[in-house]
Amino acid sequence: MNRSLRPLLATAVIFVLAYGLSVMQFPGLFSTRVLGNLLTDNAFLGIAAVGMTFVILSGGIDLSVGAVIGFTGVLVAVLVSWAGFHPLVAFAIAIAVAAAFGAVMGLAIHYLQVPAFIVTLAGMFLARGGASVITQDSVPIRHEFYDLISDLMIRLPGGGRLSFIGLTMIAVFIVGAIIAHRTRFGSYVYALGGNAVSASLMGVPVARTTVAIYMLSSVLASLSGIVFSLYTSAGYPLAAVGVELDAISAVVIGGTLLTGGYGFVLGTFIGVMLLGLVQTYIIFDGTLSSWWTKIVIGVLLFLFIVLQRLIFAASAPGEKAAKKA
């Protein structure tokens, strides 16, 4: 079996175990209502995490994700509520702005040879600052289109609801998985994460791929911001602070190697669901401080980093010899 499947399997097993144990304690957790809400409540995180998966697979990092979510929310809210644009037009503008933003970050990373960490940190400040310059306050969005979207859902037996934004997340995961695993672009992403020098010698268009990866991440962050605005019906410049870190956690817990080259988009989905489950459990319990979520995420992250270390340190003899030479 492929080595990189092992962390994915571990995540899946942990999720099933954790869910099973939670259900034993709170049988109410086993319902379509809880599962449907799990999708809805984590839709924005999931969409951003798909973009983050591509970035991390390529050996990079994108710290601007949370800020782009916040910026998009504010931009959409201002365009719709103050300027009177139709939400769909506002969405298109927001996504175009994000695409340009991601392209500039990708260009800087490739051509200036500045670490992604630094470039996207600057991007984070820019986007967050930009959102706060537009407005300091929460801007409510009132539009019939928003009401329409909120009412769009599939009712599940047992009272659960599959909301539009939950379905959007699932669609993004499916498309993301196809791009990652079944297209040449996807194979270039893995190639960059495996060894950027080899990739370029093998003819991978490194500049184009790098730019496309950061564009994809920013566009998905923007889509995540749109989903977040649908979820909250408002735009707020300080929304989604630190979501990039949750996204990174979900990606790593989902079995993607933080140094790039190994991982699956599906793993990120399970990672997001696992994080969502922890939150739901704490809400069900009612006595625990919500900060326990952070502690559990920390423990899980640590566990997965150690697990990956164990799996990949026992790596093939060939790789070691190649490094030595």
């Binding site: 297209t183 495996g194 020098v197 010698l201 003819g203 060939g318 190649a322």
Partner: protein
């Protein structure tokens, strides 16, 4: 010429080997690839000076030369990584421009590097097809890619699963996959840049079978290696470069090993007047004894006894295992067999710290990357090994540091405007003196110097040689590696010769003579027994 990717992108794969065979016969004697008057200048250093190189279809052509001869520059020009400052490259008699590795690939030139430049994290099939994956409705057709891969791999005698991760296979298998990719995508010229450097003997044989098969099918192959045995085993012709100049292109049938070494090093074997006539000094006490000391894929087990007050010269071509020998003696690499005895007691040297504790010091070959700390001052560079030896809790204060640095700076005649200037601003010779001072400050008993005189000017060169002699007279033991045969002869009391990662000869007394050394490097069977 076959356009890149066509064999992979479409139609069921025919035998590429057979296809090349037909082309080879058609081409006859025409040069598959030709470089005319290639000149390349870096700053004020001429790396290649009007070099001609002709490659025939269906031949294995060895490209030989010592470090700095210009081999890798020539290869980088042929693969599109560098642009020449003069001259031109022709394929099948037609001038071509090579501005990128992709363009070279499109002209049929494929390259396999010493370090396998593939993706260990991806499947074998994807490594064969990356960038040219067969698609169906815009998506990668994985089943077909794996089926085609299996067919390609079978032609190279590999029965591995194409969906397995490349990194899970041995370097030899990865190397063959790299060759398969280069041949499938390029298909006319194959450049092998030290492909055998990390393979064992059986793996090399297997690789040679594949090369022979490709050759007989009409592929033009450039083979770069430091192993002369391999050159004679597989190559038809050889081009020898020295200091950026073309020395000779000749059929190997007309050359002996000794000829080749002589051409590479520019030494005239006939002259053997430089035999060292020194009073044979009695050997000092045994300082260190290495028995059956070796490391797999790096250096074969060797025996070496080091006495106080002697200089052991290590001669051998680049890649002969001389640097690897130095590294395991110092613990920079860990020996996986053999024992060391220092001053009569068996010790384990698994890290440089162990070696330093026994009074060892090591000046590495790559001064810039492994020797100096460029941004740190001369003073800090000199005291760093001593401070390392003393440990964290006995920090040398600034005055003590200045005193030590000043003392050695003066003794070694380091020419620096100030002891507090960054060491990277010093000349190569002065940097080397700083590194020597660093070890001398630790009061060592045994110094290992790897190419201490490389890349430094004539004056500093003489000073380093004088220092080596002085240290020996003071009772230090030294092992000095050098490509300069005259230099080794000048200061060594004993010479060991490395060849193909093996210690092949130990020369004493009147055998310390350039002619004998060159012969020992060329072929140990011809060398006189020690």
């Amino acid at each position: 010429m076959v356009p890149a990717g066509s064999t992979l992108a479409g139609t069921p794969i025919e035998s590429a080997l057979r296809r090349h065979g037909q082309e080879g016969r058609l081409d006859g004697d025409r040069l598959a690839l030709e470089a005319r008057g290639i000149t390349k200048v870096f700053g004020n250093h001429v790396a290649l000076d009007a070099v001609d190189f002709g490659l025939r279809a269906g031949e294995v052509h060895a490209l030989l030369g010592e470090n700095g001869a210009g081999k890798s520059t020539l290869i980088k020009i042929l693969t599109g990584a560098y642009q020449p400052d003069g001259g031109m490259v022709l394929a099948d008699g037609v001038p071509i421009s090579l501005e990128s590795p992709q363009q070279a690939q499109a002209h049929g030139i494929g390259t396999v590097y010493q370090e396998v430049n593939l993706l260990p994290n991806r499947s074998v099939a994807e490594n064969l097809f990356l960038g040219h994956q067969p698609t169906r409705f815009g998506l990668i057709d994985r089943r077909r890619m794996e089926r085609d891969s299996r067919a390609i791999l079978a032609r190279y005698g590999l029965g591995i699963d194409p969906s397995s991760e490349l990194g899970a296979h041995s370097v030899a298998v990865q190397q063959i996959v790299a060759i398969a990719r280069a041949v499938e995508l390029s298909g006319k010229v194959l450049i092998l840049d030290e492909p055998t450097a990390s393979l064992d003997r059986n793996e090399v044989e297997r690789l040679f079978e594949i090369i022979a098969g490709l050759k007989s099918s009409g592929l033009a192959i450039v083979f770069i290696t430091h192993f002369l045995d391999q050159v004679f085993a597989i190559a038809d012709r050889a081009t020898i470069l020295r200091n950026g100049r073309l020395i000779e292109t000749r059929a190997l049938d007309d050359l002996t090993r000794t000829d080749v070494v002589r051409l590479m090093l520019g030494k005239d074997v006939a002259f053997s007047g430089a035999t060292k006539l020194e009073e044979s000094r009695p050997l000092g006490e045994v300082l260190a004894e290495f028995r059956g000391y070796g490391r797999k894929r790096s250096v074969h087990p060797f025996d070496l006894t080091v006495h106080k007050g002697e200089v052991i010269g290590v001669a051998g071509l680049l890649g002969s295992g001389r640097t690897e020998m130095a590294r395991i003696m110092f613990g920079a690499d860990v020996a996986d067999e053999g024992t060391v005895t220092v001053a009569g007691a068996a010790v384990a040297i698994t890290r440089p710290t162990d070696a330093i504790a026994r009074g060892f010091g090591f000046c590495p070959e790559d001064r810039k990357a492994e020797g100096i700390f460029g941004e740190l001052s001369v003073r800090e560079n000199i005291v760093i090994a001593l401070q390392g030896k003393l440990g964290w809790f006995s920090a040398l204060n600034r005055d003590e540091q200045l005193e030590i640095a000043g003392k050695f700076g003066e003794a070694m005649d380091i020419r620096a405007a100030s002891l507090d200037m960054p060491v990277k601003l010093l000349s190569g010779g002065n940097q080397q003196k700083v590194i020597l001072s660093r070890w001398l400050a630790t009061d060592p008993a045994f110094l290992i110097l790897d190419e201490p005189t490389r890349g430094i000017d004539v004056g500093a060169h003489a000073e380093i040689v004088r220092t080596i002699n002085r240290l020996r007279d003071e009772g230090l033991a030294l092992v000095v590696i050098s490509s300069e045969i005259d230099e080794v002869v000048a200061y060594s009391s004993r010479i060991v010769v490395m060849r193909d990662r093996e210690l092949v000869a130990e020369l004493n007394g009147e055998n310390i003579n350039p002619g004998v050394i060159v012969q020992a490097i060329a072929n140990h069977r011809e060398a006189s027994p020690a």
